[in-house]
Subunit: 201 residues, 2 copies
């Protein structure tokens, strides 16, 4: 029984990795069940057994990204709330240490395309709701810790969390859809020079 | 000669209005040259005479929106830099006074879909570059006026302008792609309660 479950998880994990690779190769527009199957190494039938449509598979992929993200963030070990906050900002802007910036860029562009479909696709909308909710909660928890420890001012933690999140996603939208010289460093600078000073005591 | 030019302008103006109406009816995904022709009242051939592809037409439409926006903003008559700044924020969040909120919402969602294509479509990318550039400049000019008049602190005007713009577009992205209760009022509150206080003397 447990053995079966592990095998199922392993298959799903392999499908998610194949989806990640296919997005890197083809972007969202060129992504097909076939292109995922090519990276998966098993038959298309196995993919269809687990996911009825490309939409189902991508919704599962967004869920997978969020859980992977949850495993990557390590804010507990960091000493100060300010360090925790910047570490979360940096993870969103630059990805984890071992990810190439071009890989991050490709994935952010693909996710932007998926996200732009959310107004018409409830499955995507539900996943992005979870993602924003989780990220917003994380920022708010860090800000509340800073307030408890007396290093941050008494601010509206939830509103400040959304403020930071909007700067990051709005900045990335600008970065990927214009020729302006917006890059992660500039987005980070807005947070460090214009938001942090109004939070810190 | 002038008469010809006026007639040309009038035709283009009619095409742009038909595009606007077709987007309201069908969204970006359902937008076709035929659906625009249906609202235009003249033949598809006239559309194809002016624009080779849907991409050409939409790029012209983005250009048209920017020039329409330029005619709508009236910041000169307003008394204080703070009023000017909020008036620009409100125009981006709520549209002009006579636009229904559902109409604004539909257009913002369609523009988001067009924008998500920008990484692969240089014509769109060029237009969004112009749009962001113009908006960013407008915010920066207002902030500089406030600094000159001694009502705003000496801040980095360009960075602050982008900061406000990123909050607005990031907030709208969140609003349209999640089930969270983000609305224009919340986005406005972030600007008024968390950005303005750090600019004002």
């Amino acid at each position: 029984m447990d053995n079966n479950k592990n095998q199922l998880d392993e298959t799903k994990q392999e499908i998610m990795q194949a989806t990640y690779d296919a997005i890197q190769q083809h972007g969202y527009a060129g992504l097909t069940i076939q292109s995922i199957a090519d990276n998966f190494g098993k038959s298309k039938a196995v993919l269809h057994y687990h996911y009825d449509t490309k939409e189902d598979l991508l919704a599962a992929f967004l869920d997978y990204l969020l859980s992977e993200f949850g495993e990557t963030i390590q804010i507990e070990g960091l000493s100060s709330p300010e360090e925790q906050l910047l570490s979360l900002v940096d993870l969103l802007l630059y990805g984890s240490d071992d990810t190439a910036s071009e890989e991050i860029r490709q994935m952010q562009i693909a996710l932007l395309e998926v996200q732009s479909q959310s107004p018409h696709k409830p499955l995507y909308c539900e996943q992005f709701t979870q993602i924003y909710h989780r990220l917003s909660d994380l920022f708010a928890e860090i800000i509340k810790r800073g307030m408890r420890e007396g290093v941050f001012r008494e601010v509206d933690a939830d509103l400040t969390a959304q403020h930071i999140l909007f700067i990051i996603v709005g900045g990335q939208l600008n970065q990927h859809t214009t020729n302006l010289e917006t890059d992660p460093d500039k987005i980070r600078k807005i947070v460090t020079s214009q938001v942090l000073p109004s939070i810190k005591k």
